[in-house]
Symmetry: C2
Subunit: 416 residues, 2 copies
């Protein structure tokens, strides 16, 4: 698919994440209260304003009156397609309604971004072959790196929806109970091995109350965000056996402010890697379910400058979000509009394509060079920025930046 | 505390779960739409109706207009105390407003019960010493029964709020991926080892966005419900390493229709057992945080009759809900009104006090006698009913029944 040209010049630049082909959805404040908006070049289109003015009608009653895109999700896939078609009509090069739309554009620069949707529940997966192999080798040795079930089901665990925050939110270094391998007893301390995880998040846009196929699951996905699954490795190491990560993953999970709709990514579909063992029918893929999305992780220490510490691609995943969602429903687990599924850490096969510091510094044994500095894990003041885009011919379909700065731990909350 | 006498005779019986001392909160339908109600003897008091009539005022605006008790929780502990005081005033033996209140009473028999609150997020713990020892012995051998962290932190995992249902909801036997120890490859099959878990659920009634102490956590708890954490043991055994239970616990979790407020349980506070190792400050208890609540599990096969298969007490837990909630906040994890915390399976020290069939039948090796039948795990048509009450002098503060019937699996959802 070629670039679709817009009457907004900045949307036609090969550098923007937000051409007419993309039209990702967010919630912003330019003046007054938060409103639903659409990114186009260096502008935000006030979608709530368009609806109020009768220029964008998706339903008999307003669905952009609350600062969340959940109501649009609830309308279903036909409305999702109608939304994109109408927005493209209003913003294409020869749009007849250009003059009516122009007053609803705000500069992206300076707008405050909010959570683009209300997260119902949050599930995180462990579905990257390279990441699972790396982490498994460190934690259990190369012989036992991949758990016996890993090639048969996408391993996932329920996370904490209340901890999901939008890009730009500071992340407070957590305290927690930790016990090093040589410690006689556990102690309560600020996490000393605080890490990032580069992931993509899939947003469930439809309800289900029984098992669904991978094709049905794919159709239920409304869109995708970048996702940083902040992880306290020292808390995790002590707590995770036998029931999985808990407080290690509950401090925060940062998502990009823009939801890229599934339809915008359709031209970039990619197959999962060859299966190493055959999958059972509930995980059969009806077609390519991954996407060719170039991803990078940037680390900026307090004093700068920014260094790109990893480059990888979402295509590297072993299981797609559609497979994860289908697996999630096998037990009859009800899924709801606004459920968020983290892909799992997206690491590539090479050292410089690893999506976490745990892997990049090999558990701290091989500190990573970051400009003039080194890092095993994150230091106070470090900012992590995730970026990602599907690359078309002369344009990109991107997510914008997904950023968070680690700030110093508070004093011991229990020393009172 | 003695029995508080009510003008409703059935509330003064030593057999009722619902004397004036209790006043648990539910949502019911007698006629028309679901309404907030309070159990008193064999009656339900229409609290929504009382609010509409101006007989029960908790706030400047209605808080019982929606069929959930969450709005009352949001008002905070002073309002919770005011609610109880006003209800006791209206229902005590010599209540002056007796005639005004009488029209708002409905027979409990025949009323339909609904979820008493909207579950925000659901966390389940593993905090019973006997249960953890039993399960650990079966899964990892007696040597490694208790994980190294178990005596230092309440082990928990995030569950699935969307799967929580009210007593009386049928439970459909789930399908899932399973692999027996002697199977060459996994297969997709209906769970053959479907089980119950006897638990108490604590309902978080206040928000927090940073670490809280055990005393603060206790004050945040609005009330308790009985909770059956249905578990597919065969799915769990295959999926739970390394990130914990996922689909094995996602089919359903049944709660009792009545929330017993914390204040109603206050006279029955009990200490946690002696600590086997000292706890770090974030888990220090300011006083007795468990409750003396007698519990039982009843199994009724399709053709009857009912058999009590276990009797135990909530006092047996190693960690209290307040400790669990405090631990849940250590990382900065935001907690919200409507969060539900499962206590973990409540097993006692003896064979007949075990809170799951996994333990009662020792993993199926010692099938349990149930009347003329035997059970290793649940059969289609089996109804499990949990009951629980704190026993006062001549009265009981109970939860009512927490029931669910296991119905047959659907045909293979992926054979199409």
């Amino acid at each position: 698919m070629p670039l679709l040209k817009s009457w907004i010049d900045s949307a036609n630049s090969p550098e923007t994440d937000f051409p007419l082909n993309n039209l990702p959805l967010g919630v912003f404040t330019a003046e007054g209260a938060p409103r639903c908006g659409v990114a186009i070049g260096d502008r935000i289109l006030d979608a709530t304003g368009l609806e109020e003015a009768g220029l964008l009608t998706l339903s008999d009653t307003p669905v952009l009156d609350l600062p969340f895109w959940n109501e649009v999700m609830e309308l279903g896939p036909d409305a999702w397609a109608a939304l994109r078609a109408r927005l493209q009509d209003l913003l294409r090069e020869d749009a007849p309604e250009r003059d009516a739309v122009a007053p609803f554009l705000y500069p992206m620069d300076g707008a405050e971004m909010h959570m683009p949707f209300a997260v119902a529940e949050y599930t995180d997966f462990y579905a990257g072959r390279h990441h699972a192999t790396n982490v498994g080798t460190m934690f259990r040795g190369a012989e036992n790196a991949l758990p016996p079930n890993w090639l048969h089901i996408p391993i996932g665990y329920n996370g904490r929806a209340s901890s999901v925050v939008v890009s730009g939110t500071d992340i407070r270094r957590p305290w927690g109970q930790v016990k090093g391998p040589n410690d006689a007893a556990p102690r309560f301390a600020p996490s000393a091995r605080f890490d990032l995880e580069l992931e993509l998040g899939a947003i469930v846009g439809q309800n289900s109350d029984g098992p669904v196929t991978v094709a049905e699951a794919d159709a239920m996905i409304f869109g995708y965000v970048l996702l940083n699954d902040w992880s306290a490795r020292d808390i995790q190491a002590w707590e995770y056996q036998p029931l999985g990560p808990f407080q290690a993953k509950a401090t925060a999970t940062t998502i990009s402010p823009w939801i890229v709709m599934r339809a915008a990514l359709d031209p970039f579909r990619a197959r999962t890697p060859d299966r190493e063992v055959p999958l059972l029918p509930h995980l059969h893929e009806p077609g390519p379910m991954l996407y060719d999305i170039a991803l990078e992780v940037e680390l900026t220490p307090d004093a700068g400058p920014a260094t790109t510490i990893a480059r990888t691609n979402y295509r590297e995943m072993y299981y797609s979000s559609a497979q994860q969602l289908a697996h999630h429903t096998t037990s009859g687990c009800p899924m709801n509009v606004g459920d968020l599924l983290g892909s799992g850490t997206i690491s590539g096969p090479t050292k410089d394509s690893r999506g976490s510091l745990l892997e990049l510094s090999w558990g701290g044994k091989e500190p990573l060079r970051v400009g003039d500095l080194t890092r095993s894990f994150l230091e106070d003041g470090d900012t992590i920025t995730l970026r990602g885009a599907a690359l078309g011919d002369g344009y990109r379909v991107g997510f914008g930046a997904c950023s968070g700065t680690l700030i110093a731990a508070l004093p011991d909350p229990y020393a009172r």
